[in-house]
């Protein structure tokens, strides 16, 4: 059980800055997902918390204590890596026993056996216990690797893309399993991934990392509905949020280059950019973000578009629509019958539109 805090952490490798002034706050018992592309600094963050890497500047706190001088062993964290890191030449049981047999904290043999058996049972690897680790499949290895972490009851679980080397079916199964394990243990998890579906489905909270900076933290719905900037808007959701350039003229969105005019009645932030500073908002270059599912395709709607492409995903169909030069995605129910190059009519849900400044990409709701 632990509350983790990173304060103003910067990490450089030579001339390359991996993390820049990172502040992170992970509450006790929280499932926190760090989402970012390759090279965004996710793994570095994790390794700094684990004590495998020292920050160039900044502080790390575990339960309010500065752990700068603590090694990995003293921090009492568990780490699950993408490459499993199982100890070769040992059986699954020996791998699971390994962290319990450390001299630093001697556990009685009977308890070791009981804990290993219980963990094996939870992860359904009991039948593999006496097998050598190099005879396991990827999914089995990752289970053992997770087992080795939970057998120890550490203060924090750190997981570095543990599911990304697995095939899709297994990934889904382990996703649910991990979430269940976390709920049962009630412990702090920090999970690193580049997969936004994992982030959305597992996290209590998500932190979006871009080039070593934390762009936004919030609950999955926060991140999904109110992205702080266009980067977050594109990072989360599949297909990602449509970003359409244009301007706002007296409560209506006028999209470039065609004067597609759509109603807009969302709030423009507490600073009241639209009301108090209406002059600058009107006519100022903006980017309108709208989720594909908030584009309404119905026969009586105001605007016409042509169907450019249809992707059938079973539960839904993802349409690529085109109006003049602008293309965007819309999600419709799978029952909708559509053909490519058919003309359809659409509108958007004006409440769901997020407005960004075109230049900076920042959401007006946060920055005005």
């Amino acid at each position: 059980m632990a509350h983790i805090q990173l304060k103003n952490v910067t990490k450089t490798f030579g001339s390359h800055t991996a993390l820049k002034n990172l502040d992170l706050d992970i509450a006790d018992g929280e499932f926190f997902v760090l989402l970012g592309e390759t090279g965004a600094g996710k793994t570095t963050t994790l390794r700094i918390i684990a004590g495998l890497e020292k920050p160039t500047s900044g502080e790390v706190f575990i339960d309010g204590i500065d752990v700068a001088d603590w090694g990995a062993a003293e921090r009492d964290v568990a780490l699950v890596l993408q490459q499993y890191s199982l100890y070769p030449r040992y059986t699954v049981r020996e791998n699971l026993e390994f962290p319990l047999k450390s001299k630093l904290r001697r556990v009685p043999d009977a308890e070791i056996k009981e804990r290993v058996d219980r963990v094996a049972n939870t992860l359904r690897i009991t039948h593999l216990l006496d097998r050598k680790t190099d005879r396991l499949s990827g999914g089995e290895m990752q289970r053992v690797s997770i087992g080795r972490a939970i057998v120890r009851k550490p203060r924090v679980f750190l997981m570095d893309e543990p599911l990304s080397a697995l095939d899709a079916k297994l990934r889904e199964a382990l996703r649910t399993e991990l979430k269940n394990i976390q709920m049962n243990l009630g412990q702090t998890f920090l999970f690193v991934t580049h997969d936004q579906i994992e982030a959305m489905s597992m996290g209590d909270k998500i932190g979006v990392l871009n080039h070593g900076r934390l762009v936004q933290t919030g609950t999955p719905s926060d991140i999904y509905n109110n992205p702080r900037n266009t980067f977050v808007a594109r990072a989360v959701g599949s297909p990602p949020m449509n970003l359409l350039h244009g301007k706002l003229v007296s409560g209506r969105a006028i999209l470039d280059p065609i004067d597609l005019d759509l109603p807009y009645n969302g709030a423009l932030g507490s600073s009241g950019a639209a009301t108090a500073d209406g002059g600058t908002t009107d006519g100022r270059p903006l980017t309108f973000g709208i989720r594909p599912e908030d584009i309404v395709v119905e026969s009586g709607a105001a605007h016409e578009a042509r169907v450019h492409d249809v992707e059938n995903h079973g539960v839904a169909k993802i349409l690529t629509l085109r109006v003049a030069d602008i293309t965007f995605h819309a999600t419709v129910s799978a029952q909708t019958k559509l053909a490519i190059d058919e003309d359809i009519r659409f509108s958007w849900n004006p409440q769901k539109v997020v407005v960004f400044d075109k230049q900076t990409g920042k959401s007006l709701q946060y920055h005005g």
């Binding site: 495998l52 990995a72 062993a73 100890y87 070769p88 450390s102 080795r148």
Partner: protein, 301 residues
Amino acid sequence: MATAVIETLDPKSRAASRGMSDIAIRNLFIIPTIAFLIIFNIFPLLYSLGYSFTDFRASTNAPANFVGLQNYRELLNDPFIWTNFSITAKYVIVSVTGQVVVGFGVALLLNRDIPFKGLITTLLLLPMMLSMAVVGLFWKLLYDPSFGIINHVLGLGTFEWLSNADMALYAVAITDIWMWSPFVMLLSLAGLSAVPKHLYEAAAIDRAGSLYTFFRITLPLVAPILMIAIIFRTMEAFKTFDLAYILTSQPTTEVISIRLYKMAFQEWQTGRSSALAYIVLIMILAITNIYVKYLNKVKER
């Protein structure tokens, strides 16, 4: 598959334009080697097997008489031969153990980020590139009781290293350790750097102590390659001749190959020495086989 590779000779190549086929080129390379092996290795090997059953002496013109297993019977019943064997065994154990301890230890020290690592490694490898005879000659100077630098540095006065019957074998072993530890170090270093770093990190996270990590992770992963180094060194140490012969002539350092040499070329008992050579060969084969079995077991684990 091998023939498929051999048969595809580029028709535009120079060899092809001279009318040579792939088979011809293959033979050109292989036949001299095979001929060399047969003339200098296989033939003497078989010929000496024949001699080992006779009382042949290369120094006389007397015809060789077939004596059956008499040579073998007498050799194996000769207590002096067994003394030679036990000296050899002692030498092998001391020298190989020393080489593994020193070589592996140095490899552990070198297996981290230190400045000039490449240069240091190369310098450490130098002893094993020297000729045995040269090493023997200058260690004789180093060991010299009156002006040798070893006694001077250690402050041992005129301690007799090589003419002291109890010390001489160890002195030879120390020289051998100095010369061949780099070999063990080189192989160990290759094994150590092949241990994935993330395993050490996982062990650190699992709060394993450094000794525990060493015995549970490092050693099992390096064991196979270390075994190979030990096999090579044991075989070499078993047939040591030059170092011991050059450094000292004590009866306590008469390893089996020196005995063999004396028997063959000083006493001219050609038939009997052939038999002894075969006994040594069989012993080395047996020891190597035990090691290889063990190596396979280590690999399987």
